[in-house]
Assembly symmetry: C2
Homo-oligomer: 345 residues x 2
């Protein structure tokens, strides 16, 4: 475990920057008093919030950054501008000043800068985007959510190892079960690369608690602690889930607003609906982690408020605290996945 945890923060990314970002750091600092922070941002714009939360920001260093990555900047541009708060925050991880970076800015830009500056972990072919989602039973870790449109078996196996360790470190699950997303639980169903990945996980990684194939309705059921898939499918599943949750809540609201009786019942039931909304509150699941790089890079939702941003920061802290990257390296180290994939052909 790292002795001292340092998180670098891009204060200028996201719709509510820099105020929500600095508020979020203050909340995390209160929760994890041993963690330190380096905040990169425009000094003038950050001044108010830094003063406002000064009490909780004692273990914070602020570094002025001249430029800002905007939401429509192209990745190819942003990787060249070293004056942005995002570039500098990521670079702090590269130089070892910080252990992880958190930004609510432009996703493509953060991914590009992180990949370029931090490079993929030894033995890992490609990084993946990983997040936590609510289920009937609790929480599930899902990856990849969009970094890799097409994936070979070696990628899927690596995602399984990375996701398993993420669940252990961030959700505190001792032996997380891992499912591979398919369109049927039978062994012969679905795509070639899924069968190969499943075979490799079963035969070469006995320490992984591999469940086998799961279907998309099993995600919300919480059948496994981790669900592994390619970035295209993962993104579709995530957005289907978000869209449907909104649909059901909207239809419920519409039904209650459709009659005077309904409006009265709705008002009287408000505390109960608040409970439902709280379980599904997307702020509780804020923070997508780029796994598989030399250093942790966390993308907060662009619309995050202070509380949501602090959740992303907390996950970064937990991952550093739990030595996530070291654990991934240890687990993957003894294997040559290229050989395993070839050998199975």
């Amino acid at each position: 475990m790292s002795e001292k945890i340092v998180i670098s923060i891009d204060a200028m990314g996201g719709d509510n920057a820099p105020d929500a970002i600095i508020e979020g750091v203050a909340l995390s600092s209160k929760k994890f008093p041993k963690a330190s922070f380096i905040i990169y941002g425009n000094e003038e714009k950050c001044r108010n919030s830094l003063d406002k939360y000064a009490k909780n920001l004692k273990k914070c260093e602020f570094i002025h950054a001249e430029d800002i990555v905007s939401s429509d900047d192209k990745p190819s541009q942003v990787i060249r501008n070293k004056k942005t708060s995002m570039w500098q925050a990521v670079n702090a991880v590269k130089t070892g000043k910080a252990d992880a970076v958190v930004s609510a800015g432009n996703t493509g830009a953060l991914m590009a800068i992180s990949k370029l500056a931090l490079r993929t972990l030894q033995k890992i072919h490609r990084p993946a985007i990983c997040t936590i989602m609510p289920t009937i039973k609790g929480r599930v870790v899902a990856l990849d959510l969009g970094a890799n449109v097409e994936c070979g078996p070696e990628n899927l196996v690596e995602f399984a190892i990375m996701g398993e360790n993420f669940a252990r470190v961030c959700l505190g699950i001792d032996k997380p079960s891992v499912g591979l997303l398919n369109i049927g639980s039978e062994d012969m169903k679905g795509k070639e690369e899924l069968h190969k990945a499943s075979d490799i996980l079963k035969t070469s990684f006995p320490d992984v608690n591999f469940y086998g194939f799961v279907e998309a309705d099993n995600i919300a059921e919480g059948l496994t602690d981790v669900v592994v898939t390619d970035g295209f499918t993962g993104n579709v599943a995530l957005k289907s889930i978000e869209g449907t949750a909104k649909l059901v809540l909207k239809l419920t609201k519409k039904a209650f607003l459709g009659s005077i009786w309904g409006i009265i019942m709705g008002l009287l039931s408000k505390p109960i609906f608040r409970k439902v909304k709280k379980t599904m509150d997307p702020r509780l699941y804020n923070g997508a982690m780029f796994l598989g790089l030399n250093g942790l890079s966390v993308k907060s939702h662009g619309g995050a408020d202070g509380f949501a941003f602090s959740i992303a920061v907390n996950n970064a802290i937990k991952s550093v605290k739990g030595d996530l990257n070291e654990k991934i390296k240890e687990e993957i180290n003894g294997f040559n996945l290229d050989e395993l994939v070839q050998g199975d052909k």
Copy 2:
């Protein structure tokens, strides 16, 4: 439009066969008094229900079939046994005795028998599974939901044409908008085959109301009337949607049951929740149609009750009435998709 509509029915498929099946046919017969039915099943097992609903089954012929396809029969077995009610019901479409077949039995078996007996429509490369789902605005037609794990641009373009005509005929939408499921609405995002399919739809099919790329959260929002995707992604989206709808309803129930106040409010709000459940009622969306074959084949959910089965039968009747296959053929006829795909390379 066909003069006389005949639907053949496999009475022995599904958990509630044959009673729910025969009840469903009776309901559809009442709604569409001009339609006739040929019911294939075990005479002894069907006798009770046939007698019970005799009043509404006047335009029904019953034909005894000796065997039954069970839920774990392999497709390779069932295509050889011509004595099953499923085989005979599909064969009635092949020989022209019926215009469409509806079964609640084993999906893989129905797909295999239908493909073998009916063969793909001229010019169509591969059939697709198509269904209707609820949205905030109303309904959406989605395909493919699992017939084709991998799809080329020619398949996706054909699915667009088939889905568009299905929406016109079954949902009564004059000029249905068609979206192609992707992980970003920008032109450069996602997979190669999606870009090619999008280009072909834009340039060669000006009569199709093609919206462009949509994302998975747009499905429930009802952004387009039709959503086109490959069978793997479609299956994942469908099951993510089903799983999440269940999750939200379960969490709501749990919250209401969590306190005495909640239980009272829940009881008083019952009629309102019934309204929500009614909009989302999966029975209203029962029936997956195999599109792209010479003859229509409809798979009802295996757990369907009489009402749900009648919805699948009604969609079959509407599709025959609207000359769905003729319309698909007309629209696709002037094009050589292989050339269009090649030409774009």
